[in-house]
Symmetry: C2
Subunit: 336 residues, 2 copies
């Protein structure tokens, strides 16, 4: 069994072999081993949060991560920013005929590693095989189910945000987008940039202590920081203002962006979140984040105010200002 054959998607013997030798070996839990049509879970007393994401990143392996790590961390992160403790994952694979089984094994190893770190079982899954040319190697869709934690029961819509609230970012921006871009041109771009691809779960325990002081959280994936800020400000009676000098961009990302014309504020992140927090709590929340490796570079970058309702403004380093618009085209297809 070296490469994916059409028969691996037949539902017959080869499918069973693939499930048992690749998937169940790595996602080893009683629900998945039952091989039934659905996994049974027992809900606790809290609300559940459900999220789903398809992952089509190209290349499959990049500095700092791979599609498997991303597919687990990305879904964990969507639950974390919804104020939920991740409980269960499902994973569905679309495999291209001819894919090296060794690649699938490395990717599922990586998924299992991240899921184990977070203590979350992959309880259900599916595999489809499409003929060569009908997909590019493999795509993964993960769905996550989490338990809304009581301290964050208020977190749902943007309406909790008030003028005066501060904007906090958990680290430097653009690393994932820059790493993917560089890895597509290995001959032309020499760089040490690594994706920030990581689980934000370690921050949940720290942040929950702040309860309602935290108004809103979102991870800054596709479209980057500027896109999340626009999603927050869109159609609101207030606007957001950030300071360019406070947004962290590493020297390497900044250099790559200068060369390539990409804007780090619009580059995807895969382990970096944006928070809107109360002005009273901002400094203390930032400090407590800074004590965790996942948020040690967290920084306040701006605030919510009445200057330009519905818009995102950036005060530039040279003393001017510019509007950060919504992205209209895609700077980097298949970024996640």
């Amino acid at each position: 069994m070296d490469r994916i054959k059409i028969g691996h998607g037949s539902g017959g013997l080869l499918t069973r072999k693939l499930i048992r030798e690749v998937f169940q070996k790595r996602f080893n839990n009683s629900e998945l081993l039952k091989e039934s049509d659905g996994a049974t879970i027992s809900p606790g007393q809290f609300d559940l949060v459900v999220t789903t994401d398809a992952f089509v990143v190209d290349p499959l392996f990049f500095p700092g991560g791979d599609i498997g790590k991303m597919s687990v961390c990305g879904t964990i992160n969507d639950l974390v920013v919804s104020g939920a403790r991740p409980l269960y994952l499902t994973a569905s694979f679309i495999l291209e005929e001819g894919l090296d089984i060794a690649i699938l094994e490395r990717i599922t190893d990586s998924m299992a590693h991240e899921a184990d770190l977070a203590g979350i079982p992959v309880i259900a899954g599916d595999t489809k095989v499409v003929p060569g040319g009908n997909a590019d190697k493999l795509y993964i869709t993960t769905t996550g189910i989490g338990e809304k934690i009581p301290e964050f029961s208020h977190l749902s819509a943007i309406s909790d945000i008030l003028p005066g609230d501060r904007i906090l970012v958990s680290g430097p921006v653009g690393l994932h987008g820059a790493a993917i871009f560089a890895s597509r041109f290995p001959d032309r771009i020499q760089t040490d940039i690594r994706s920030d691809c990581a689980s934000l779960l370690p921050l949940l325990g720290i942040l929950k202590k702040w309860g309602k002081e935290i108004r809103f959280m979102r991870d800054a994936t596709r479209g980057g920081l500027a896109t999340v800020l626009n999603e927050i400000a869109d159609q609101q009676k207030w606007g957001l203002v950030i300071e360019e000098s406070d947004v962290l961009v590493t020297k390497e990302v900044s250099g790559l962006c200068e060369l390539s014309g990409l804007d780090p504020l619009y580059l995807a992140n895969e382990g970096t979140m944006v928070l809107v927090v109360s002005s009273e709590g901002a400094e203390a929340i930032c400090e407590s984040m800074n004590r965790n490796p996942q948020g040690y570079q967290g920084i306040v970058i701006g605030e919510c105010n009445m200057e330009l309702p519905g818009r995102v403004k950036m005060r530039t380093r040279i003393g001017g200002s510019r509007i950060l618009p919504m992205l209209s085209s895609d700077p980097l297809p298949r970024i996640c």
Copy 2:
């Protein structure tokens, strides 16, 4: 907006337009409209069942259904056969650049129609766009969450099955596989075969009255009836024996199979289930199924006994018998 552009996957303006004009218009519920990273649901007192499936069927539209209808019904059916009442769906799309938006609209119309019929909201979703040639038009992954109904709390593993139990099938077999096969050769095959693609939810209310008389249920999708029977018998101390003359195969499917060399017992079904039931209850369960349009052709096809442990035997029309083995290659790639 006529065709899918790469920008529809950017996370920016075009993505938002697509979400609002295509998806939210059809999947109109408060959780999805919140546009947050996760949908919140309130669990009741019962266990939840979770299932996920990728759909890559080719062609997208076929007699009796389309990929959208399938992606909703298939996931509903996985919950139904797990003894769960479907509550929520999530849907994740991988779109090929250049796809006609009109096609996406027809498919999401069809999903919304089936979801509405079943009374299940699509509460979360995701859309990725890949460059032309990196997918074939579109793929959908749905995840379903259902509530295990108390009458079926025993339904989980195959171990509930006892020698003497009867095997019941809810209708004729092979319709979906045959419809897909025929629709791939429109110039060469003229036939009226329609896929059985349908939700099995109408049967749940009828079947639950029989509680523990029902030992096991599974929908006979990829690999067809023979594959499900093999999954049931595999590694058991008993085996299954079916009567060829009791398995319903329509004249059209039978004719197509004779011409093409396909075996109707291995052709996929998308709205037909296999049940293992107590010998005492078998006739009455079958009769009550027959009173529902979704099971009006339901029939007992065989039994569980000690003849050939772990295997599936078929007594043929001409008085012989043959073993139905597990499928080892794929007769029809991209069948679902």
